[in-house]
């Protein structure tokens, strides 16, 4: 086989491998496995809420986009067709109750029911920020 054909073949294989890698591991890379991520912070709902309420800018820099594990007494469990929300209620404002709301991962959604209100739990989620009423955590999972 001529040398230039060999070079072309090698280049084509490298190109194909690179394109496959980009497609599978970059373009189609999976979302994080939130339930198994190690928390960046461990605190309680009240401390997190107060941090955002007192200084939203600094708290956003610290907590937004981070995995936070919270422990405390659950005040409410909301269920609707789309999601289950664990709610730590800590104040009252223009949107009614204020506090920390954690939407559970679909596979965790049945682990809490409204009658779990008052239970002490440990829960982990991805902090998406503070909307001037509540601190929001998504992809929540319960720790036992």
């Amino acid at each position: 086989m001529k040398k230039w054909i060999k070079v072309l073949l090698v280049l084509a294989i490298i190109g194909l491998a690179g394109a496959t890698y980009m497609y599978v591991f970059v373009y189609n890379k999976s979302h994080p496995d939130y339930a198994n991520l190690k928390p960046d912070f461990e605190t309680n709902a009240e401390a997190l809420f107060v941090a955002f309420k007192n200084n939203p800018h600094d708290a956003a820099s610290t907590y937004n986009g981070k995995i936070i594990r919270l422990s405390g007494k659950l005040n409410k469990v909301e269920k609707n067709e789309d999601q289950t929300i664990a709610y730590f209620i800590l104040d009252e404002g223009m949107f009614g109750n204020e506090g920390v709301r954690i939407s559970l991962l679909p596979e965790e959604a049945n682990k809490l029911v409204p009658s779990d209100t008052g239970k002490s739990i440990s829960i982990k989620g991805f902090c998406t920020g503070y909307n001037d009423s509540d601190v929001i955590l998504e992809h929540g999972s319960l720790d036992y």
Binding site: T128, S133, D134, E138
Partner: protein, 186 residues
């Protein structure tokens, strides 16, 4: 006499406060999704934790949306959306503050479906634009179901799309709003 006036004033204030609360409808589980239909790619994202309040007395209407709460099918798109386009580390919230401008023509206490005209200031990526859009309210058994579909141009909000992915992202993004509002004091 003074005590009677005090008691009467207190009673009137309590009644007024109750009336004001009764006029406010809220949700914390509002849904907003957006859809980009570009020649080489369709992109969809949704957010199910949107705060919204409507005062049916004045028609005042407010939305608060956390940008990091938008969920995409592909993790890479979600990363690009937050880090490169809306820069959610700098601008974590989008807001709408406005009015139902034809609120006087809508009976929010009576079951029925009503056309709505919404006007106000939409802030995305730190840029505020005044918008005027159509929507509808369905009043049913004390709850108000609001819906609206409208388009925003990414350039209007200073969102820069790199030349390399210009065919992947639509110049105008379709926004769908779906909210079920309930009385605040429920």
């Amino acid at each position: 006499m003074k005590n009677t006036i005090k008691i009467l004033s207190l009673a009137i204030l309590t009644l007024l406060a109750g009336e004001l609360l009764a006029q406010k409808y809220i949700t914390k589980n509002g849904k907003i999704d957006f859809y980009s239909d570009a020649p080489t790619e369709k992109i969809e994202a949704f957010n199910n934790q949107v705060n919204c309040a409507l005062d049916i007395g004045t028609g005042n209407f407010i939305f608060k949306v956390l940008m990091k709460s938008f969920q995409f099918e592909k993790a890479l798109m979600q990363e690009h959306f937050n880090e490169n386009y809306v820069e959610s580390h700098k601008f974590p919230n989008a807001t709408f503050v406005g009015k139902v401008s034809n609120a006087s023509a809508i009976d929010f206490t009576k079951n029925g479906t009503y056309d709505a005209q919404i006007q106000g200031d939409l802030t995305i990526h730190g840029v505020t634009q005044t918008i005027s859009e159509k929507g509808s309210f369905e009043v049913k058994d004390g709850a108000i179901h609001g819906k609206s579909t409208f388009y925003v141009a990414v350039a209007d909000y200073d969102i820069k799309i790199p030349q390399t992915v210009i065919t992947n992202i639509a110049k105008e993004i379709q926004i769908n709003v779906d909210i079920l509002l309930e009385p605040l004091n429920k």
